[in-house]
Amino acid sequence: MKILVAVKRVVDYNVKIRVNADNSAVDLANVKMSINPFDEIAVEEAIRIKEANKADEIIVVSIGPKENQETIRSALALGADRGLLMQTDEETQPLAVAKILKYVVEAESPDLVILGKQAIDDDSNQTGQMLSALMNWPQGTFASKIDLMDNEVNVTREIDGGLETIRLKLPAVITTDLRLNEPRYAKLPNIMKAKKKPLDIQQVSETGIDIKPRLTTIKVTEPAQRSAGIKVSSVTELVEKLRNEAKVI
């Protein structure tokens, strides 16, 4: 049993982000970057599966510039076995990411691919689904519980109405939701050991994959400032305002 986990390097969730001067993107100069929290959950889940003796190997893949090695190393420190950087300095949108992942999946033939349901920078929530379609594999998105069996996996999904449990045939793609697990802290000795784990680098440009962006960013702006709230004196007044002013009911 082999698990492939995809991780993205994003602005750390603690950072208060700012739009750059020409309103073209978020300012990334001297900003702390970390592993996407949903992807960290994916890594943690893979490690738990391995610790339960249900998997033999965890491969971590990341797509992006050479700095992504740090992101991969942090996943290796948590307990993944080896890393792969698909290196590119180009912007990669979800379809491009899914295509690169397809390439990696075909080369590595994992039984299971786990990735975050979305990245906290662009919040696309598309890559897992696209990968599943490209591979023609079953998908279990927004997982809050994963129960692995021989050749099958039960995935409990967080859906609007509550929880839904589905059974997928392996190989499959699973995307993680927030409540799947709580990632551990890396043990400090493992951070040292992670330096010695194998990390391969492959240039995306050499794969022949078309990663050309399909979307163009026109403008990036800060959200509008929230205006002050008001106090209402009664429920009747509240209902009246919701109906006539806010027009939400």
Binding site: Y185, K187, L188, M192
Partner: protein
Amino acid sequence: MANYKTPLRDMRFVYNELLDPEQIQALPGFEEISSDLVEALLEESARFCEEQLQPLNRSGDEEGCHFDNGNVTTPEGFKEAYNGFCEIGLNSLTSDPEYGGQGLPRSVATFAEEAMCGANFSFSLYPGLTAGAIHSIELYGSDELKKTFLPNMVDGSWSGSMCLTEPHCGTDLGLCRTKAIPQDDNSYLLSGTKMFITAGEHDLTDNIIHLVLARTPDAPDGIKGISLFIVPKISVTKDGSLGEANGVSCGSIEHKMGIHASATCVMNFDNAKGFLVGNLNKGMEAMFVMMNNARLGVGIQGLGVAEASYQGAVEYARDRLQGRALTGVKNPDEKADPILVHPDVRRMLLTQRALIEGNRALAAWVAFELDVSHNHPDEKRRKQANDFIVLMTPVVKSFMTDCGSEVSNIGMQVLGGHGYIRENGMEQYVRDARIAQIYEGTNGIQALDLLGRKMPEHFGRNMRPFFHAVRNYIYAKEMNYELKDFLIPLAKAFGRLQKITAVLAQRGMKNPDEIGTASSDYLRMLALVALAHQWARMAEIGMQKNKGDDGVFYQAKIDTARFYFERILPQTGALFATMMAGAKSTMSFNDDAF
């Protein structure tokens, strides 16, 4: 309020730019310690301290430790935090890999220690005392003792304590009365009472390994008759498992001004089985080696708590709107300006900052020399590093804890009444910081150790590495016109320090009270010069990088250096005058008139 964030940016600056990471990596044993590894280690350590230790800081202070019939319970959440702390290895950073430690350089571990103290001072004491005990056993214990006790202490399942103080003796340990009676099986039975024992009893670990100073029946009087013993709370059987309870009990815990979540215990030893560590009657030597290491750690406590206070003060000064700037309205949209605009508030914040960053730089230098003194292949270089540490240990312990107290008091002042009430967490820093000036050898004793012992020892040899480093820096940079605002006052203060050193050495030979009277002022002056040296170096780096990437950080280095040289270093002038005045007014005062 009071939301501590590890100052990783400044730590990275100190490690990568003030220290030389390549020199650290060149030391045998540290070949794998690359800069990016250090970065990853510190980031994860910082994350744990901020997310797991900090939330327990104020709750631990409010709840305190509980004592019930000999049992001590730590505040809620401490046990889980302790387990997590050991799980990720924060307790064993510098311990010997042979016993399960990570063997990291002290110059790296120091930053992690700062983060622990900044996030939760009280918590840091439990693993801190264990680290001290481990260090003593590593250095002086027999192989058998090491094998029996170290693996479980290094992985954190057992903790340690240092039992020195007795009800009638603290500073003067020669008066120690605890008895150790030799037995046929090479062990000893210890009886006596120890007090102010940090982490003497608690519920974090299955066993507590006490290191106890005691006296055998035919030992000589005074300090030369003290030996060091290992006394486990629960005896350890031959196969390493836990046996019966030893004759060790906790009589009570103290009610203290601060560090409420740290159990400060009265420990009773009643025919408790113990084992000699090192040689008979040489207990103080073993203690001193351990204490040199621990004293740097105590200095770091002062630094950590100071940083936490500074962060709270800055946050408040930005948000709190009161009054208008003296030179005109700065914040026209509101009814008042943030108090950050007021000169006296800025004076307070910059004083905090200049002392904190200066101390961080100095501590890193001392930690680096500590690594050199252990790991450098050249014996001459090791000795030189050791001389430096011997001199700087009392300086770091004393000055950095004095600053911990000064700076946390300033932080409270910035918040005014909101600093004095408990809810905002600022007064806790003041109360917690205060102990560090007292324990592990009071700051007065540190000063006496510096001027009365470390300075004259080997005809002043201990002074050389520090004095030469400062002198060489001044000589090397004196033609650098851009640095003149820093070098001239540094050279002036250094000159004063050299002069007063010579004066005191001479006066001290005739009258030891001259040394005793001047010692605290001397220590502070030496520390202020040491910080000036660091600030000149930091400003120099700042000037090379303030136009580039992250220029704001480097410009702030230059500007803080300027503040230090203009507004803090001049204290050396007053200290010089105070010391020159001599001992007479202090010592001739009529005792009955007090």
